[in-house]
């Protein structure tokens, strides 16, 4: 099953934070991580990741710096301490929510 951009809207921030959890990445690598870790389920125009990263940066959840590599300038993002706290909170909330929904959807006998 593929989740479209509309369905992802409420969760995109958490997914992007999760993509940065294991170290800094530039926008294109974040897009690749989202695709690979999501098992190709997330279907959103990848150009919309860049504004979302800028918004997370403005909120102090990630930090972006320009780097030069292979003769090409890229903006690399990493989680801030606030971003790590937010990711941990979102992860716990999601686990509770998913457990509750799973319990509700169990077939009753």
């Amino acid at each position: 099953m593929r989740a479209d951009a509309q369905a992802l809207k409420g969760h995109l921030d958490t997914l992007l934070l999760a993509c940065l959890e294991n170290g800094p990445r530039h926008g294109y690598a974040v897009k690749d991580a989202l695709r690979q870790r999501g098992g190709e389920r997330f279907d959103l125009p990848t150009g919309t990741i860049y504004p979302a990263l800028r918004r997370l940066e403005a909120a102090g959840l990630i930090r972006g710096t320009w780097t030069g590599q292979d003769g090409r300038r890229r903006r690399v993002y990493e989680l801030t301490a606030a971003g790590r706290r937010r990711l941990a909170g979102d992860r716990a909330s999601w686990a509770d929510f998913a457990a509750a929904v799973t319990a509700m959807l169990e077939p009753t006998t």
Partner: protein, 190 residues
Amino acid sequence: MTAPLIESYTASLRRRLPATLAEEAAAGLQETYERHLADGSTQDAAARDAIAEFGQAPLVISEFTRQAPGRRAARLLLATGPAAGSCWAAALITSRAWTWPVPGAARLAFGTILLLTVLALLAAATSHSSYRRTRLSVLACPVILALDATTITAVAAFAPAPTWPLAAALTVSLARIAFTTRTMRRLTAS
């Protein structure tokens, strides 16, 4: 060599977005294009597939605009308007401000500037596809500071006696000055 479709797309980003945002998005599109080229596509096919994957330029520009710091700031500043306006209305009515010796031209100028500022903030807050329009909030911030400072100065100069509603309105204005100053610093740094 880059395909004309990619060049035209990145030119559109550069025309409509601040340089650093356009540069970052263009680099992402270029990498997507190069990935398709490496997979064996022709230049034109790689460009078409890269744009289909990345999203059309108006969509990406609209997302940058929707999430622009200036748009968010304008919404927050507009949200403070009703609270500050109500406090000042109550304070000025209870203090019979229409009897203060403030020149009519000064009242008119104040009202006109206030109205223009609100319109500028509304334009920034409702922008969907023009990033430039969201930057109007950068211009509005110093004007809001000046309006609040003018109001406080006018009260200090002309109010016959301090009252509780005036004290409450002054507190709201001072809080808004602090908030607007912080917002302006963030906007000019972004």
